[in-house]
Structures are given as C-alpha cells and as structure tokens.
C-alpha cells in the first residue's frame, strides 16, 4: 500500500509540474486553443452555409479539432523534458516507470479536457447546434475521449521525444491508433446530440472506456523502455 501511495505521489508531482509549466507558458495553451477553434471555423467555411450539413458534420469536426489540438499539447508536454536534458534526469529517478507515465498522462488529460471543454461550446455556436439535454452525455464522451487521447499521445510522445523529426513522427504514429477512438467518440457525440434515438450511446461509450483501459495498461507497461537510451 505504501508503494502505491508513493507511486501516486510521484505521478501527482509530475502532473503538477507539467501543469504548472504549461500554465506559465500560457501562450502555448492559448495558441493551441486558437488553432483548434480556427480548424473548426475553416471546416465551417469549407462546408458552406447549409445548416443541416453543418449539424451532421459537427461531431466529426469537433473530434478532429480535439485530436489536432491534443497532438500539439502532448508534444509540448514532452518538449519540457527535452530542454536541457530534463528527460535523462527524469529517467534517473528511482521511481516506478508506470508512475512517470501516469503523471504525464494526467497532465495530458487535463490539457485535452480543457481543449474539449472550450471547443464544445465553440462548435455549438459556429455550427448552430443546441446542446440542450445532451450535456451530461457529451461531458462523459469528452471525458472518455480525453483520457484515450492523453493515453495514446503520452505513449507516442515518449516514442518520438528523442527523435529529431518528432513533430512529424508523432502524428504519423498516433493518428492511425486513435482511429477507433475517433469513430467511437464521433458516434457517441452524434447519438447524444440526437437524443440517442437508436439506444446505441451506451455501446459507444463502453467502446471508448475499453479503448482507454487497453491504452493505459499498454502505455504503463511499456513507457519505461522509452525512457532508456
């Protein structure tokens, strides 16, 4: 039990450190939010003024914007470790490797959650969608989606962090893996906005939860190897 408590303290210390650095380098967070909102705006222009078309496309475009924004965020969180050899120092701490992964994941989750929380009302305003009674289901969908994106993003940011072309390699590796998450999140969002007429919202949320679980376990089990040089 003491071991678990110590691991939790390590994970919390890493998450707090990342969050603090992220908040102080505020321009990166704000830029990411603007970038994702801009993506939504440009998609809106590309689709034209047809309200029905925009409403149908909204869930997919929302999640694409969240995925693009999360790519930037997890890259930034690992960039902190590259500056002046911090990653080597982090790898040398005598702590459980999975605790380091969970700490980075927690920080990534918080950032992606903020991204989802901001983009949801933005998409509602831009595409003229009434969120109405769909709020609780949408919050659960964003929560589960943010966990999954942070889990995959943290892992692949660890894979690419020592690469010279990490900004290019991260999307190449991460995007194919998040395809099931994207599908489930878009379907769950669509079902939630439509009032769940087919009763399949629960199934999509379960798929999201299963995806999250598999990715967290896989990431926690293998992240330690990524820290070694």
């Amino acid at each position: 039990m003491n071991g678990l408590r110590a691991d939790a303290a390590v994970a919390w210390a890493i998450a707090r450190k990342d969050a603090r650095a992220e908040l102080r380098g505020r321009q990166a967070t704000v830029s990411t939010l603007f970038f994702a909102a801009l993506v939504l705006l440009l998609f809106g222009f590309a689709l034209g003024p047809d309200a029905r078309r925009l409403t149908e496309a909204a869930p997919g475009l929302l999640w694409l914007a969240i995925v693009f924004g999360s790519l930037l965020s997890v890259t930034r969180l690992h960039q902190l470790e590259v500056e002046d050899g911090a990653l080597d120092e982090l790898a040398r701490y005598p702590v459980e490797r999975y605790a380091i992964y969970l700490g980075k994941l927690l920080a990534g989750f918080a950032v992606v959650l903020v991204l989802g929380g901001v983009l949801l009302p933005v998409v509602a305003i831009l595409y003229g969608i009434s969120l109405g009674e769909a709020w609780p289901a949408l919050v659960v969908t964003v929560l589960l989606g943010a966990i999954g994106l942070a889990a995959v993003g943290t892992f692949y940011a660890g894979v690419t962090v020592r690469m010279a072309a990490r900004e290019v390699m991260l999307p190449l590796l991460m995007l194919p893996v998040v395809a099931p998450l994207l599908l489930a999140a878009v379907k769950a969002t669509t079902a939630a906005l439509a009032g769940d007429p087919l009763g399949d919202l629960g199934a999509w949320l379960q798929l999201l939860a299963a995806f999250d679980l598999v990715m967290i376990v896989a990431g926690a089990a293998t992240y330690g190897y990524l820290l070694e040089e």
């Binding site: 303290a9 902190l80 040398r92």
Partner: protein
C-alpha cells in the same frame, strides 16, 4: 605484563573489499563509431578519481553508463557489486550524477525544481531540505525566480544543489566547474572535499586537470574511447581485450 604485538593476517583475495565502481570491457557504440572501447577499471571505495582526456575521449559516455543514463553496447559495469543493467533501480538510489546538461525545468522556480527532485527522491522533510540546499549553493535570494531567468552559473549551482538533497555512495561529476565563477568553483571544491571526508566514491571528469588532480586520490586518462593510463591510488585498470567484440569497436 608482556607487550603483545598483534600482526594483521595477510590479506587474502576474499578479504579485499570489493571496488565501489567496476567495469569490465565496457564499450558503447554510436552508429559505427565507438565512444567507449573495452574499458576495464576498478575504483576503490571512498576514493576520488579524476577522469582526464581531450574532448571525445569517452569520459562523458563512461559517466553516463555508470549513472544508468546510457546502456552499454558491450561489457558490464557494477556499482558496489550491483550490475547497473540488471538493477538500475538500486543503482539510481546509490549514485548521484551531475551531467553537462542541468536537467532543470525553465518554467519552474529554483525552489520548485528542488522540491520536485525532493519528491521524486523521497527526501524526508522536503521543505526544510530545499531551504538548506538553496542556502548552501547561495541561491536563497533567487529561490522564487524562474530558472529561465538564471545565468548559466546559477543553473549549474542549482543542479549541484540537487545532489545535496540525498546521501550517496558514489558521485559522478561531469565538468562540475564549467560555467562557474571563482566562488562557484570554490563551492565545487568544498563539496568534493566534504563527500571525500564522508567516504563517498567520486569520479570527476574535467578539463581542469590541475584543479581536479589536486583534489583527487588518483586519475585515469582516456583517449578515443580507450582507457590508456592510470595513476595515483584508488584506481586500477586492465588493457582492453577487443577479441570477440565487433570490429567497429575501436574505430572511433
């Protein structure tokens, strides 16, 4: 009462204390070039050894391997008879390492950087420990400033301070005097002296040969990845045996 003289029994092989640091044919390749090629050495416990040699000699690679920051390509290394590849977790609790890079977080303050290390290394009473270390390295007045605004010398002092949060069996220092002013260099010398008196084994790589050899018991000189010469006391080396090691090793 007749005076009795007690003679020490001759030392047998079993009674010889194990070296604090031991490497056997240690080699590390980067691509096709060898940064370290068949280094076999033993450092006695409690001794301070200066690692000398020009740029690219392999000093940093040797220290990084011993610190578990880098895996060896061939050979093995032990800290207090513990294999560094098999039990890195144990080694990391016993070995401190000051590298070229400071490993600090620019957007955290000096105190926050130390507090983070204190948590990660389970330092008891971390707040008091952080305050004590800041005072020791002369950064109390700058504790709440972000590290981004520190000078290179202040960053180096803070990185050194991180090593003062714990007690160590072995301390590895890579160019500890770099970027420091006269006061900073004197601080490094004092720390070396203090660790030495506490029985800590120290390996210190430096281009300031005169300065570090004055503080050291012995020295080892590397060149092109080979350990070519040792002197003083506390360090022994064997010639590299490259038989059986891939042909790239040695072609630095």
């Amino acid at each position: 009462m007749p005076q009795t003289t007690i003679y020490a029994a001759p030392r047998t092989r079993e009674q010889t204390p194990p070296p604090a640091v031991a490497t056997h044919q240690l080699a590390r390749l980067f691509g096709r070039s060898a940064a370290l090629a068949g280094v076999t050495m033993r450092v006695a416990a409690g001794r301070t050894i200066a690692l000398l040699g020009p740029n690219g000699a392999g000093k940093t690679t040797l220290l990084r391997i011993l610190a578990t920051s880098l895996r060896p390509s061939f050979g093995r290394a032990e800290i207090e008879s513990i294999d560094i590849v098999a039990r890195p977790d144990v080694v990391r609790r016993r070995v401190a390492y000051l590298s070229h890079a400071t490993g600090l977080y620019d957007d955290l303050t000096g105190a926050e950087n130390l507090a983070f290390t204190a948590t990660m290394r389970s330092v008891p009473e971390p707040h008091a420990a952080v305050d004590r270390v800041l005072a020791e390295v002369g950064l109390t007045a700058d504790a709440d400033r972000r590290v981004r605004s520190y000078s290179a010398g202040m960053r180096r002092r803070l990185a050194l301070g991180r090593l003062l949060l714990n007690d160590w069996a072995v301390v590895l220092l890579d160019e500890p005097h770099a970027a420091l002013d006269a006061d900073g260099m004197a601080l490094v010398d004092r720390l070396l002296q203090r660790w030495h008196e506490a029985g800590v084994t120290i390996l210190v790589a430096s281009h300031q040969a005169e300065r570090v050899t004055r503080l050291a018991d012995g020295w080892a000189r590397l060149d092109s990845g080979l350990l070519i010469e040792t002197g003083g006391s506390g360090v022994e080396a064997d010639a590299p045996d490259l038989v059986g090691v891939p042909a790239q090793v040695g072609r630095a």
